[in-house]
Structures are given as structure tokens and as C-alpha cells.
């Protein structure tokens, strides 16, 4: 279990309970269960309190938690017949973006998502979930495929943002992102997006211009990272708490702003505490959203999607 800085008191209590039980295992006849159970209860209460009202900055920390389920975990658990399709047919395969065919409740769909990796090796392979132009161009290709064969598109968003690299710029990541957003807007099939962790700037929006945009309870979605915003507007990257607050990047604020359509609740203590329950909840939410969209004509799906984005922001936080 990886603890976040604000979970330190929790780590102490859970650590103590664990120590007691370890002691009891070594010393037969020693009864610690009552004491340990009391600690468990205390820990549970503390966890509840900590997560009841997370500050925006703490949400950022939770959204980036290394133990949170990632794109690959959702694909493995929710979809059957997962058949990854690779490459942009132009330059490379981008492992920061997973994409392919799969079935959700037996119905074929195209799945696209950012994958951050789970250890040093896979994180480097996946470029920490930061797509290069090839990632967007692969997604464009797969969205076109979905469109031609009438398959709904499901995207899972979890990226710090586009990759600020030399090659990424040389190979036109601006154009790739713009084209990907445009492709989302043209889809004549249902498109559902779930922001499962970090929705970082243009790298996120390129796959998130959907009919339904859902967000996990503690996920974040922002035009810039709080650190980046702090260093520009406060001239001090350490002011990320203030920036996180001001940016309104939580699922709750985005719901008020009308930028997202629904919030998927997380288990107490965040998705990392009960990965299976989180994945199941996300699966149900995707199924529900796709159900609502099924039967709509291509024209209607395109028109609704455009209207949705054109109307966005008209009423501010009162939406």
C-alpha cells in the first residue's frame, strides 16, 4: 500500500494494527484481536473523514496515485475478446495509447485510452501516459474504423498531458491533437469517455470530445497542471494547492460547470483501496451511457455532440 502524505496518520494506525497481528502470529496464545480491531475501526473512521471532503490538491494526489486502476486494468477486467490494434500507419506505434477492438457485454466496441504503466519499466515504455503524435493518429485511425463499422467508441482518459518533446513537436502534435478532436466530433457512432485519473489538457481533450463524459469521483480534468499554473500565475510552483483550488478541476466542480455528465463514485479511500469495485462501477456507468445513446441516428449523435460542446460554459458554475 502506497500512502499519500495526507494519509500519514492513517498509515500509522494501520501499521500499528498490522504490527500487533504480526506479533500475535509469532507468540501463540497472545490475544491482540480486540485491540487490533479497535485500531481497524479507528483507521476506517479516519479514512472516511479524510476522503469525505478532499481538497482539490489532495484530489490531484489521489488521481495520480500509483495504485489506482489504469487503462489496462479496466480493459482486462471489463472487456472480452480484447484485440489491441497498433500503429498510426505513418511513423510508429505509441504505447502511451492503448487501442483496439473488444466486446463490452458481448457488444463489439472500439476502446482507446491512455496507459501510464505500473512500474519503472512499463512507465518508461508507456511514456508515463503522455502520447506522442502517433498516439493521436492511431486513435484517429481507430475512431474512423469504429465509424465505418458502426461500433461505439469508449475512451479512458488518464494522462498528465501531451508530451513536451522535440520529436513530438516536429511531427506535428498540434495538428494530431486538433485532428483527433475533429474526428471525435465527426463520429456517427456513440462515444463515451471516462476520466479515470488525470485529464491533462489537450492530450485529454483529443480523446474526450464525446457524447457522454463521465468522471471518477476523485479524478481531475484541467487545462493545465496545478504546478504549471502556479509557476505561471503565482510565479511559484509550490503554490499548487492554491492553483488546484482556483482551477476548479474536480469532478464535482466540472459537474456544476456542465463540462461532464456524471460522476462515478469511488470506494471509501479512493479507487486504489478497492480496485475491483471501482472497475465494476466504471463498467456499469459505461454500459448505462451507451444504453442511453443506442438507437440514436448518426446525424443525431453528431448534432447532439456539437450542441453539447457549443452550449458548454454558458452558465458558469450555475450550470
Amino acid at each position: 500500500m502506497n500512502y499519500l502524505d495526507f494519509e500519514k496518520p492513517l498509515a500509522e494506525i494501520e501499521g500499528k494494527a498490522e504490527e500487533l497481528r504480526a506479533l500475535a502470529r509469532q507468540n501463540k496464545g497472545m490475544d491482540v484481536e480486540k485491540e487490533a480491531a479497535a485500531l481497524d475501526k479507528k483507521a476506517e473512521q479516519l479514512l472516511r473523514d479524510l476522503y469525505k471532503d478532499l481538497t482539490p490538491w489532495r484530489k490531484c494526489q489521489v488521481a495520480r496515485h500509483p495504485d489506482r486502476p489504469h487503462c489496462k486494468d479496466y480493459i482486462d477486467a471489463l472487456f472480452t475478446e480484447w484485440t489491441p490494434l497498433a500503429g498510426d500507419r505513418n511513423f510508429a506505434e505509441d504505447l502511451a495509447v492503448m487501442g483496439g477492438l473488444a466486446r463490452l457485454d458481448d457488444k463489439p466496441v472500439v476502446v482507446i485510452g491512455h496507459e501510464k504503466g505500473h512500474d519503472t519499466k512499463t512507465r518508461i515504455e508507456r511514456n508515463f501516459g503522455m502520447a506522442r503524435p502517433e498516439g493521436y493518429r492511431k486513435a484517429i485511425r481507430l475512431m474512423d474504423l469504429a465509424d465505418r463499422f458502426g461500433l461505439p467508441v469508449v475512451t479512458l482518459i488518464d494522462t498528465p498531458g501531451a508530451y513536451p518533446g522535440k520529436g513530438a513537436e516536429e511531427r506535428g502534435q498540434s495538428e494530431a491533437i486538433a485532428r483527433s478532436t475533429q474526428t471525435c466530433l465527426r463520429l456517427r457512432v456513440p462515444m463515451v469517455t471516462v476520466v479515470i485519473g488525470e485529464g491533462g489538457s489537450g492530450g485529454a481533450v483529443a480523446f474526450a470530445t464525446a457524447n457522454r463524459v463521465l468522471m471518477l469521483e476523485h479524478a481531475i480534468y484541467s487545462v493545465i497542471s496545478p504546478e504549471g499554473c502556479a509557476s505561471i500565475l503565482w510565479k511559484d510552483a509550490e503554490k499548487m494547492r492554491e492553483a488546484a483550488e482556483a482551477l476548479r478541476l474536480t469532478a464535482q466542480d466540472l459537474m456544476k460547470l456542465g463540462v461532464i455528465d456524471a460522476i462515478v463514485p469511488e470506494p471509501v479511500g479512493g479507487a486504489q483501496r478497492d480496485r475491483a469495485a471501482t472497475i465494476t462501477a466504471v463498467g456499469k456507468a459505461i454500459g448505462k451511457a451507451l444504453g442511453e445513446l443506442s438507437g440514436k441516428s448518426g446525424d443525431k449523435l453528431v448534432a447532439d455532440r456539437r450542441r453539447k460542446f457549443l452550449d458548454m460554459g454558458a452558465r458558469g458554475l450555475a450550470a
Binding site: A162, Y163, P164, G165, K166, A168, E169, E170, R171, G172, Q173, S174, E175, I177, A178, R179, T181, Q182, C184, L185, R186, S201, G202, V205, A206, T209, Y221, S222, V223, I224, C229, I232, L233, W234, E242, A243, A246, L247, R248, L249, L254, L257, V259, R306, F309, L310, M312, G313, A314, R315, G316, L317
Partner: protein, 309 residues
């Protein structure tokens, strides 16, 4: 349109502008250091007369030289709700807005206009780098949508001059949502089969580049313009190496296939007339299309199609 509206009004306008005495009559070229007299610089479209360095040009000044006789009508842009997030950093967003409005005498960071360019009816939009670095928030999104709607309604091409230092962070996620919103605007034009031409000026960065700037049917940049998604400083910090000379400049992007053309500001109007007329399948532009003004009128703007402007 007769010569009175074409020539007299701009002359009057220029008389008025002549009356203002700017505090600073001289501008130093940031590239070559030459001191340039303000009128000379203005007549040269803010391009250094000594080294051709393109300095920023405000939307109104650009439109005065883009549209025939300097005549254009502003297309109204619906005002978004102010300060949608109640944003406050070291300053309150409404205070930053007020300061920007006072400093620029403009409402916001984009101006939309319609009129004729070489007798070709067009709609044009230009981003104002002087207004909070041309940053894209709800207003710029609304301006792009208004421009596209007007172009579609009147079956005219849309020409957009981009310039942006980045997102309007004070509008948070709503500034990010302008990427899809402005893309919807572009889609309106594509669907109506109307030319959508982008002119990328220095600097065009961030979400603007990664949305409407890079979706043009034809994409032209001004010389030496910085055009990127992530800025050079961010990249250098990430890869920890120095970037090559000219990286992310217009000429570099042209070499890498990201642009159709790099065009000197003084040649731009002429080129835009040729391109829009061909795409609209209109007749070739006729030089001297307009009746010559009487010598006494002393036109401030050159006749359409006869002089590069």
C-alpha cells in the same frame, strides 16, 4: 461600393489617427535594433524596414489594411458570463480583465469582421496578442463560432489570424473546452464547403495551435513566427538539451510539412485574395478593379489588387 466609401473614410480615419500624438514616436526593432519612426512602421504593417522582422500587429490595424479601402463591419460576438470560475490568483480575474481592456481599448482577445478583400467578400477573425497574450477563453470561442456562423450564413470564406500565448487559465476547464468548441466552428465551414484559411502569426501556441490553427484548408504563417503546442522552454526543461536554431519557427514547420506557405506580411493580402478566389471558383482578381481616386483625396490605403498591402 463607390470610391467615396472606399477612399474618403479611410482618409478621414487617418486624419484622426494623425492627430493623436503617441508618447513614443520611435520603436526599436527587437531583432536588429534599428530605431523606426512610428508612421513609417505603421505604413510598413509593423514590419521592420531594415531587417524585415515581423512585429505584432493589432487586429484593427491588420483589418484596415486587409479589407478594401480599410472598410469593414464588426461581427458581433456574444459576451460570455464574466469570470465563470470566480478565479483569483495574485489578482482577481475581473481586475486583470479590466486592466487588459484599458490597456488595449478592446473588449477581448479576438476581433471578428466582414467586408471585401480584393472585391472578394470574406469574414475574418484576428487574435490580439496584446490582450492577455491572446489567450483563448470563452470569448475567443464565441468569436470563432460567431465568425463561422456568419461565414456560413453569407457563404463567405473565413480567414483567421491566430496569435496566442496559451490558454486563459483564469477560465480553467472552460478554456480547455474551447478546443472542441472552436473545432465545431471549423466543422461548420467544412460542412458548408467554404474555405477556411488560417494565418499563423507570432506566437501561436498551446490549445490554439492544437485546435483551429491547425485545421485550415490552407495554412500560412508569417516569417519567423513561433508555432507550437509545448513551448521551447518547457521542452528544454523536459529533454534537458538545447533545441536547434529555428526550432518551432514558421520556416521549420514548413520544412516539416506542417504549413502550406510562409508569407511576408506585405504579400499576405495579395496571396489571400488569390487563394480565396480560386477556392471559391471566382474570376481572377482584376488589377485596377476600382475607379482611381481623385488625386486630391490622397488615399491612405492603396487600391485593391494594384499594390501589395
Amino acid at each position: 461600393m463607390n470610391w467615396i466609401s472606399n477612399y474618403v473614410r479611410p482618409t478621414i480615419n487617418s486624419l484622426f489617427s494623425r492627430r493623436e500624438t503617441p508618447e513614443n514616436l520611435w520603436t526599436k526593432c527587437p531583432e536588429c535594433g534599428t530605431m523606426l519612426f512610428h508612421r513609417e512602421l505603421k505604413d510598413n504593417l509593423n514590419v521592420c524596414t531594415s531587417c524585415d522582422h515581423h512585429m505584432p500587429i493589432r487586429p484593427r490595424a491588420r483589418f484596415e489594411r486587409l479589407f478594401d479601402g480599410g472598410i469593414f463591419t464588426e461581427v458581433p460576438v456574444p459576451a460570455p458570463i464574466p469570470d465563470p470560475l470566480g478565479f483569483r490568483d495574485q489578482k482577481k480575474y475581473p481586475d486583470r480583465m479590466k486592466a487588459a481592456q484599458k490597456a488595449t481599448a478592446e473588449k477581448e482577445a479576438m476581433l471578428v469582421a466582414e467586408g471585401e478583400m480584393g472585391r472578394t467578400p470574406i469574414v475574418a477573425a484576428a487574435q490580439d496578442f496584446d490582450f492577455m497574450a491572446g489567450s483563448m477563453g470563452m470569448y475567443v470561442g464565441n468569436a470563432m463560432v460567431a465568425a463561422a456562423e456568419r461565414a456560413v450564413q453569407k457563404k463567405r470564406p473565413l480567414i483567421v489570424f491566430t496569435a496566442a500565448g496559451g490558454a486563459r487559465m483564469q477560465e480553467g476547464i472552460l478554456s480547455l473546452m474551447q478546443m472542441p468548441r472552436t473545432t465545431v466552428a471549423v466543422e461548420m465551414l467544412k460542412e458548408a464547403r467554404l474555405p477556411y484559411i488560417t494565418v499563423l502569426t507570432h506566437p501561436t501556441t498551446g490549445g490554439v495551435t492544437a485546435s483551429y490553427a491547425m485545421l485550415g484548408d490552407v495554412q500560412i504563417a508569417e516569417p519567423q513566427a513561433l508555432i507550437c503546442f509545448a513551448g521551447p522552454r518547457v521542452i528544454e526543461q523536459t529533454i534537458r538539451e538545447k533545441l536547434p536554431e529555428g526550432f518551432q519557427r514558421a520556416e521549420y514547420l514548413l520544412d516539416h510539412g506542417m504549413l502550406d506557405r510562409v508569407t511576408h506580411r506585405k504579400k499576405l493580402r495579395e496571396e489571400l485574395i488569390l487563394i480565396t478566389r480560386m477556392l471559391m471558383r471566382a474570376t481572377p482578381p482584376v488589377a485596377g478593379d476600382l475607379p482611381a481616386p481623385p488625386p486630391s483625396a490622397a488615399p491612405a490605403a492603396p487600391a485593391a489588387g494594384t499594390a501589395p498591402a
